[in-house]
Symmetry: C2
Subunit: 332 residues, 2 copies
């Protein structure tokens, strides 16, 4: 008899990724990646989700002890209902757990993608053997996961840990979430790109615009689109405006880290997501803000480290969901 199998799935706005794990391992024995086709609506995405899971299971579906699904946006892990997935049109109050159990006849659990990435990093990545850990992922958006006393903090309705939607600029601009001056609005990849695209409409952005046009000529793409990656390349090439935009985002991340340190006094903060990959030009100003602003005792007791599992953290956490969170998710 073979080890029990677990399937983890990450449902993003662009791709559905699934992986199968044998026993309590984070090294997949099979992987699948398909386009989400989110614009086609919930029913199509559910079909594609089922197909991706079946493909990943191969002949092993009967041997799958559970399927964990990571999704963005507010969802209730206890009831298995996705309240609203911002990147998946039509996903409002969707009973995802029930719908997938009806299709697969296997136990299904769902979790917030940032929480499950935190679970992955905690059990298999940067935070093994720690009990008070904050996970912050900075990419298109900014998400968080909170582990206190060796448990993921879900909150009353499963939405705890929305660390990207802390206000750090209370008289600032309105975020997509409805709040004002969120960390995500300022420091996410989207925020960095917005700042750049606003700047190139004015004279101050002329050098950045020229840099982006040169990139465009070499890329073979047709439309000039300045994203966070372009800004990072321009900053590396020494374009002052790009450097200033990255520095602004980095300092905002530093302010967010100070808030996390003051609220939680964690042992460790794990930083993940694509924006963090920008390296020292992002991390140095962020850590300088922490050094300058955070209270001494919690500052000196926290380790701020990079995530180890990269883009697979959520997938790995989803695979581990059933055996690490079985009780919590069933009983709620």
């Amino acid at each position: 008899m073979s080890a029990p199998q677990y399937i983890g799935v990450d449902v993003g706005g662009t791709s559905i990724r699934a992986a199968r794990f044998a026993g309590h391992s984070h090294v997949p024995v099979a992987k699948t990646k398909v386009p989400t086709q989110a614009a086609k609506g919930a029913e199509v995405v559910l079909q594609r989700l089922e197909a991706a899971i079946r493909q990943t299971a191969g002949h092993e579906l009967d041997n799958v002890a559970g399927v964990g699904i990571a999704a963005a946006g507010p969802l209730n892990p206890h009831t298995g209902v996705v309240l609203n997935a911002p990147n998946l049109p039509g996903w409002q109050n969707l009973p995802l757990k029930q719908l997938m159990e009806d299709r697969l006849h296997r136990p299904v659990f769902i979790g917030n993608d940032a929480n499950l990435a935190a679970l992955g990093e905690w059990k298999f990545g940067a935070a093994r053997d720690h009990q008070d850990v904050l996970y912050l992922t900075i990419s298109t958006g900014i998400g968080g996961g909170v582990i206190i006393d060796g448990k993921i903090v879900e909150g009353a309705k499963g939405t705890a840990g929305e660390l990207g939607h802390m206000t750090i600029d209370w008289r600032g601009e309105r975020c997509n979430c409805g709040n004002i001056g969120c960390l995500e609005y300022i420091a996410s990849g989207t925020g960095i790109a917005r700042a750049a695209n606003e700047a190139i409409r004015s004279a101050e952005g002329i050098e950045l615009l020229a840099f982006a046009r040169t990139l465009l000529e070499h890329s073979g793409e047709e439309e000039l689109q300045i994203d966070a990656q372009t800004v990072a390349l321009a900053a590396e090439a020494g374009v002052p405006l790009a450097r200033a935009i990255i520095q602004n985002a980095a300092e905002a991340i530093g302010a967010g880290l100070v808030n996390i340190i003051h609220c939680f006094n964690p042992e460790m903060i794990i930083l993940g997501g694509g924006v963090i990959q920008m390296g020292p030009m992002l991390m140095e100003p962020a850590l300088r803000v922490v050094q300058e602003r955070a209270m001494k005792v919690p500052r000196e007791s926290v380790r701020i480290v990079q995530a180890q599992l990269g883009a697979n953290a959520g997938l790995i956490g989803a695979g581990a969901l059933i055996y690490y969170y079985n009780d919590a998710y069933i009983s709620g």
Copy 2:
């Protein structure tokens, strides 16, 4: 044989208050209040603390099962060391637990005053029977206590819950704590008074100044000192600047509440402290900000209520510390 006795103590910058409780009750059987005489240094305060506890104990000291002491500022409840008490000169790295056990020959435990007020409100006040509760106290400063899954969150070194030192204005002014744009800097009683005192040095403050002078004439005091209470009275009397200052503080509190709601998704937020006593002129703008800005799911699942134990919450929590937190505080 009588019920075991517990003594709770609150060491403030102005007064030391102690209360004795019989069994698991929050109604004191004896109380003492003495001036702290903080300026005379740590040794004098320790003597006064011992005297206040002995007076509260009466003939019952041998029957006292434990003494809980609430103090401000970062302290480590596990080791019993006060790291730094901002309102008590000379209290740096003071092994308060050990020093008081040597004097009293009874078990002593220490805790952050806001955490112990949270414990009091949770066990005897507004949050009975809840498991995910945030406590925010807004008076001279702003403190917090975090209860998750039925436990007070201490963090790695016991400093978790410094909710007043969340940045909400990351390009703003420097707080006493060293951080920038803290909620406390803007919305505490001290912050409200600072805004008023800055304003009366300019022409816009002339009406507020006149109001404060009239109050002064009726009070018999000699020096014109505009505190948060004066600003509140002026706002009630319709002085526009005073109303604007209170509204600004209220909206900052609202932004802080949104951060708490997004980070913790609590069942309940308890608001305590003197500034909250200003009533609707403070609470209405604060709750309007929550209504306008917080995400729907966690906003609709949180109850925001007033504290029930008033200024005694910390004292009551300190008295309950030994039987609710014995294990956690000893084992840490």
